[in-house]
Symmetry: C2
Subunit: 313 residues, 2 copies
Amino acid sequence: MDDTLIATASAAAAPPFERWLALHGERAERALERVLPAASTHPSALHEAMRYAVLGGGKRVRPMLVYAAGEAGGAQAGALDCAACAVELVHAYSLVHDDLPCMDDDVLRRGRPTVHVRYGEALAMLVGDALQALAFEALAGAAVQGAGSGATALMVAELARAAGSVGMAGGQAIDLASVGLALEREALEDMHRRKTGALLRASVRLGGLCAGMAGDAGAARLHALDRYAEAVGLAFQVVDDILDVEGDAATLGKTAGKDAERNKPTYVSALGLHAARRLAGRLREQAHEAIVPLGEAGRRLGELADLIVRRKS
Amino acid sequence: MDDTLIATASAAAAPPFERWLALHGERAERALERVLPAASTHPSALHEAMRYAVLGGGKRVRPMLVYAAGEAGGAQAGALDCAACAVELVHAYSLVHDDLPCMDDDVLRRGRPTVHVRYGEALAMLVGDALQALAFEALAGAAVQGAGSGATALMVAELARAAGSVGMAGGQAIDLASVGLALEREALEDMHRRKTGALLRASVRLGGLCAGMAGDAGAARLHALDRYAEAVGLAFQVVDDILDVEGDAATLGKTAGKDAERNKPTYVSALGLHAARRLAGRLREQAHEAIVPLGEAGRRLGELADLIVRRKS
């Protein structure tokens, strides 16, 4: 979803999904605003930098997945806000750390200087560390916002696992070790399943858990969400790789072609551009098939899958 | 508690507190062993480095505070193991990140090369990130280990706050900004209350929460624990500053005199060595006074306060 879409969607005549996106985008933004300490709170340099890292940019894909999955199961709005903040804060922290000189050494993110360029390396590291902690603080709030304590404890375990050494951080470690290697398709998928897929999947599952799908009665729907999340997670990465080749810095808000330049293995380098595009299309279909059991309640999830595959940035 | 103490305490004739220390030290070690993925688990470089960062060293002060506070309230052993792991993993992650070149640039920790020296900067950053996530995964386990889901959600919020921007990470940010400044005693205390005090306090409180002190019936005891933790947290830092001046690298397992060399404000630089020693003594007394309401159940907490003030490393 790009800014033009959101702006158009604010008009009353906007079609339902664009309106839904605009409303939930604003909701995620307000929830993040609330959960982040004010820039004036001591220590203010850290809090200012945390807000810079999180607010005023970002496609908020993960919060949208939380909302769409949660609403498909009838979850309470307050609990979904907590989970939406949590996944976005984990995502934001990972970007700040990825951009550091010892990692990708990026100077531009969302069209602005990266956190370490603006605030220095040491503070950028602390920004990431503090945002991860804040993610769990936000998530813990779901216990008193309608998700219940039992589901909240499960969600904390789920998010921690997705962010940790067998999930996102593990994917980064594999990525580090893969520069200059020609990964087989299977190894590439394993890396991305961890690096980006795990948090996207957790976003969908957290929505389901907020809606009480942890028990036996919800098991079939949680399984449907899982299959959906698996397909969408991979599709997201395939499209990222395509955009890295096709996009330009102005649209992406970051330097294009960097993966290729760094000799990082991508779906495009592994499959070629044409086959990568076909794969993205097939994964979109798989996402739609997965949510058939949810019926009309899964509509937003289907629309989000379309958006993720068709996005231009 | 140093290694000699633990070794002596393993003998049957050891006095009760040393025996308690040895038993709980082993218990914390076993629990950390279990919660850390095996070094053979993919991605193995990351898991090997995480185990290197956590196992085989460290005084385990924070787990001991969890156990002592929890046992004072009759908490379940399994829940305390979860909380003990969680606070130690947060502590371990903070050391890995603090040692990085962009922070303190330390090459020696617990008498061994620091994680970034051994495994490289990028992996060291991921080790810290993954250990923080693992801390919350471990803590979430308390829900099914006798602490209950309600207390677990509270513990997650408590640990996240202690680790985050108004706690430990915030203290680090203040520390960064304070190099070369002569901080007033009040500003110095504020920094340390966040940087080391917040996690020590959370350790004590998590023990209490495992023992069901969240409700009205436990409020007075939780308040006693709080006052104890406040005194012990500051005492810990005052003694650290004294040891930085008096100690040598062989005993400390890290480079002595580094704070003074870096022109960092310390209790010794603010008060002088003699007054800093007297302050540590007074804080020890305050810790003992705070736990009077706990009676005999608070005995281990009192003994830990003595140990923290009298330690040589």
